[in-house]
Each structure stands twice: as structure tokens, then as C-alpha cells.
């Protein structure tokens, strides 16, 4: 278990002070995939680096498995880091070593016997699907393959925790998906607790159990992903999760409703039933739905017909069919 208590980090330089983290309190439970989402500059990279003390917090405690690691002597800290793997946006592989050399690196520095290390590396390369690339150098690999090597390397010492700092941000959507699948598999099969830092909603969406939203150096909101997605409370979470209606299509000037789907309603063909039963057309301006753990959450912005009676009939239909809606202001 990782507990952050009243964590604060202030960078002091000649040009003044910058507060990167303020009073952060988080608990990351064993076995979960915990996401931290925020815009760039929100402090999320500093946050993840405080977990393995690549950055020293200026206030508060980092408690891992019951021990406050901020007071550990350096030697014990180095040993502890072998229990916390880390992967990065830029992969950070050793360019002058082969794939095998990279994966065996953490084992070399921890003094694992060669033969044992080799077995472990082969096992890991198989896990990440790169058994055939053992003797290839990183420059010959694609981005996704490099991240797989980095993951294998991070897992070499059998860590209980894996920190991912924007691990998929440099990858294309398909590769992102396959890397996230791999992380999920590692979490499930090896029981590794994973902390994911990202600015991409889809990453949280796809694999995280719980999420913390960070904004201006503080945790704005925290909870189960399904809960936060269904009902984002903080301004920043709404901005990150709800569709950006400014991108909506141009309209004919009618009233606009935002229909909110949470759970079962999304499985029904609401719009077509609405049109058929009300005998009136609606114009879909924007739709965005996400599936999470088998239920669908989503928002749709529709424009009602200009005819007043048609519009009233549609609203009545929505009410009788328990579709949650709210009126959108014009010219948003």
C-alpha cells in the first residue's frame, strides 16, 4: 500500500518559489490500478516521482507498506527502489545495450547471478511478446516495442509496484491500446499494483480502478473511475470528462438539451424510439459515450425542433422514459 500524507513540494530557485504539490493525500491500495490525471503542469509528474523519491517532497510523508520512506537511509532507499518499477513517456532505454542487456540491467546492478538473470529476462521478454528481439538494439525497435522492453526491464526485479509516467503519451492509439492491455495483464496475473500518470482520459477509462484528478498542485477529486465519470464534481474533472460542446455543430437555433446516460439507458435505442414515438425529428449535435465495466456512460447534445408543440412532446417523452436531461444554454 502506498500512502501519501500531506505531501507538498516547493521548488526554490533564485527566481522565486514554485509550488508543485500542495497537501496531497492519497492511498493506493494493493492490487489496484490507480490513475492520476491532470493537465500538463498540474504537478502529476512531480507526484509520481515523490513515490520513489526521485523528487524529495518538501513536506509530508510517503508511506510504503507501512514505512515512511522519506526518512530511510540512502542504502535502504536504493534497495526499496528495486521494489518499485518505473516506466516513462520517453522509454529511456540504454541505447548502447541490446534488448536483453536492457532487461538484465536492473538484475546486474542488484547482483543477481548471470544464469538466473538470463532465465528471468527470457521469461519477461516472453511476457511482453519480444522473445525474438533479444539481440536487437533499441534504435531498431518501434515505440510500442521500446515501451514493452521498458516494461520488462521495470519488472525484472519482481517489484510490487509499477509507476507509469505518461507511458502511452508518445504512442499511437493502437499501440496505446496494446500497451494498456499488457499493463492490465501484468496487474491481473502478477498482482503488481500500478500507478498511472496521464493527461489522457481514455487511459483512465480503459484500465484504472480508481482515479485522482489533480489540478493546480492539488487533488481536486478522487474516487472510483465509474463514479467520477458518471458524476464529475470538480470543474477540472468536468472539463476533462465531459465533451467539449464548443466543438458542437452549427445549429438552426432551437432549444438544446443535454441527455445524460448512466447505466442501462444507453443500451436502448433512445433517439430512434424518441423520433418514432413523438413523430418529431431531433438533431444530434454532439455525442460521446464511454463504456466502463459493462455499463455505458455518456452525454449527447440534441437540438429540439423549432415547433413549440413538438419540443414539449419530446420533453414529456424524456420525462416519462426516465432519461436524465438538462437544458443547455444557447451559444455555448
Amino acid at each position: 500500500m502506498i500512502q501519501l500524507e500531506h505531501l507538498g513540494k516547493t521548488y526554490r530557485s533564485a527566481s522565486g518559489e514554485v509550488e508543485a504539490l500542495r497537501d496531497v493525500n492519497l492511498t493506493i491500495r494493493d492490487g489496484e490500478i490507480f490513475g492520476v490525471i491532470g493537465l500538463s503542469g498540474a504537478g502529476k509528474s512531480t507526484l509520481v516521482r515523490c513515490i520513489n523519491l526521485l523528487e524529495r517532497p518538501t513536506e509530508g510523508k510517503v508511506i510504503i507498506d507501512g514505512r515512511d520512506i522519506t526518512t530511510l537511509p540512502r542504502k535502504e532507499l536504493l534497495a526499496l527502489r528495486r521494489n518499485i518499477g518505473m516506466i516513462f513517456q520517453g522509454f529511456h532505454l540504454l541505447e548502447q545495450r541490446t534488448v536483453l542487456g536492457n532487461v538484465s540491467f536492473p538484475l546486474e546492478i542488484s547482483g543477481t547471478p548471470r544464469a538466473k538473470a538470463l532465465d528471468r529476462c527470457r521469461e519477461l521478454l516472453q511476457l511482453v511478446g519480444l522473445s525474438d528481439k533479444e539481440n536487437v538494439y533499441p534504435s531498431q525497435l518501434s515505440g510500442g516495442q521500446k515501451q514493452r522492453v521498458a516494461i520488462a526491464r521495470a519488472l525484472a526485479t519482481n517489484p510490487r509496484y509499477l509507476l507509469c509516467d505518461e507511458a502511452t503519451s508518445a504512442l499511437d492509439p493502437n499501440t496505446t491500446r496494446s500497451i494498456l492491455e499488457l499493463l492490465k495483464q501484468i496487474n491481473r496475473d502478477l498482482g503488481v499494483t500500478i500507478v498511472i500518470i496521464t493527461h489522457e482520459m481514455k487511459v483512465i477509462d480503459r484500465i484504472c480502478d480508481r482515479v485522482a484528478v489533480i489540478d493546480h498542485s492539488q487533488i481536486a477529486e478522487e474516487g472510483r473511475v465509474a463514479d467520477v465519470f458518471a458524476d464529475p464534481r470538480s470543474q477540472i474533472a468536468r472539463e476533462l470528462i465531459l465533451p467539449q460542446e464548443r466543438k458542437a455543430l452549427e445549429t438552426t437555433g432551437g432549444r438544446r438539451l443535454r441527455l445524460i446516460f448512466g447505466g442501462a439507458a444507453s443500451r436502448q435505442p433512445i433517439i430512434s424510439r424518441l423520433s418514432l414515438e413523438c413523430q418529431a425529428p431531433v438533431n444530434i449535435l454532439f455525442a460521446d459515450t464511454r463504456e466502463y465495466e459493462g455499463t455505458v456512460f455518456g452525454h449527447m447534445i440534441v437540438e429540439l425542433p423549432n415547433d413549440e408543440r413538438d419540443a414539449e412532446r419530446i420533453i414529456a417523452w424524456l420525462n416519462t422514459n426516465d432519461v436524465q436531461w438538462e437544458e443547455e444554454k444557447a451559444n455555448v
Binding site: L77, R81, G90, H92, Q96
Partner: protein, 224 residues
């Protein structure tokens, strides 16, 4: 070709000059690295952005290196004669030349090493730290191996520079192609001897460069 040329050739003086230049260069470069490599590493790691920042040490070493680097080589070599006498007991000859060359070249080498190390991606260092590497492991297993191609490239440049310095060594009674060019060529007005020395120096430089480039290409595992 002048008579002098054949005379020097027949006496084996030119061949000897080439050999002397080569071994003075090789020995000076090797020892300049013995001093300059650790110095460059210390300069890099104690820097504010390094893995073990030690401000005062970095400032002092930086000042010393800059101090030696700002003195023209020939003056530094003359100034270092007492040092050579202290170490070797002699102040003239190739031994003294090598000692002064090492002192003149080591700060230069240190800066070359420092700039090669700076090319190593700081993210790779961070990754190594996240794995629990000690600073020594980072230096020996990450910084130096990752910078290897650049270090070799730097060594090629340093060697060529030091080769140039050896020609100045004639002033201190050193031998080699520089001495032949000055004594037999310049002082006795044999233009072709000077040119011969120039050509031989160019050939040596070319060979060093070819070897260096070959090694870099062979050892660099990036972009292949």
C-alpha cells in the same frame, strides 16, 4: 628533392621523427585521459544538474580547468618545465615534453569528456536511479557506456590536437617531425623538408581520423 632530404632519409632521421611524433602523441594522449577522464566525470556529476551536485567542488575544478585552458599551449609548456623537472628530474628532452604535454592537454580532455557525458539523455539517468543504481553504478554502467561513441569521437579530436602540440615540443628540445621541420627545414632553408614534415603529419592525422571514425561507427548502436 634536396640533398638534405636524402641524407636525412639515409640516416633514418625522418623515420625516427615519425616514430617519435607518434609515440609522444600516443603516450601524452593516454596519460592526458588518465587525468582528464576522471576530471571530466567529476565536472559532469558535480554540476548543478548532475547526479551528485557539489557546487564548490564543481566551481573550483571548473576554474582550474579554465585557467589552464586559457594559457596558450606553448607558454604553458614552458611554464611547466619545473614540474617536469620535479617529476622526472630532467627539464629537457622527450620525457619532459610528454609531462608538459599531459598537463597542457588534460584540462582540454576533461572538457571533451564533460561535453560527451552531457549528451547522455537525462531520462536514462533518471531511469537508472529509479532502479536503485548507486552513483558509481550510474557512472560506470550508464554514463560512460552510453557516451562511448561520443567519447571516442572526442578522443580522436584530442589526439589530433595533441599531435599538433608535439610539434611545438621542439622548443623544449623534444624531437620528432616538429624538430626536423624547424632544425633541418626552417633553420637551414630547406623548403622541401618542411613540406615533407607537413605531408607526414597530414598522413598521420588522416590515419587517426580514419581509425576513430571506424571505431565510432562500429561501436555506436544507435541508428543502424
Amino acid at each position: 628533392m634536396s640533398e638534405m632530404f636524402f641524407k636525412l632519409w639515409a640516416n633514418g632521421l625522418i623515420q625516427k621523427g615519425v616514430w617519435e611524433t607518434v609515440y609522444m602523441t600516443a603516450l601524452s594522449t593516454a596519460f592526458a585521459y588518465v587525468l582528464g577522464l576522471p576530471l571530466g566525470v567529476v565536472l559532469h556529476v558535480t554540476d548543478r544538474s548532475g547526479i551528485a551536485p557539489v557546487g564548490w567542488l564543481n566551481k573550483i575544478l571548473g576554474f582550474v580547468v579554465n585557467f589552464f585552458r586559457s594559457i596558450p599551449c606553448i607558454i604553458l609548456m614552458v611554464a611547466m618545465i619545473p614540474v617536469a623537472r620535479f617529476i622526472l628530474g630532467v627539464s629537457l628532452g622527450n620525457g619532459a615534453v610528454i609531462v608538459t604535454l599531459i598537463i597542457a592537454a588534460a584540462p582540454y580532455v576533461a572538457r571533451m569528456v564533460e561535453s560527451s557525458l552531457r549528451e547522455v539523455d537525462s531520462g536514462v539517468i533518471e531511469a537508472a536511479q529509479s532502479m536503485g543504481c548507486t552513483n558509481w553504478q550510474i557512472i560506470s554502467r550508464v554514463l560512460l557506456p552510453e557516451a562511448r561513441p561520443s567519447l571516442i569521437q572526442g578522443a580522436t579530436i584530442s589526439t589530433v590536437t595533441i599531435l599538433g602540440y608535439t610539434a611545438l615540443a621542439a622548443t623544449l628540445g623534444g624531437t620528432g617531425l616538429g624538430q626536423i621541420a624547424i632544425i633541418y627545414g626552417h633553420q637551414r632553408s630547406n623548403g622541401d623538408i618542411i613540406w615533407l614534415c607537413v605531408v607526414l603529419m597530414v598522413v598521420i592525422v588522416q590515419l587517426i581520423q580514419i581509425l576513430g571514425t571506424y571505431l565510432v561507427r562500429k561501436l555506436d548502436k544507435r541508428a543502424r
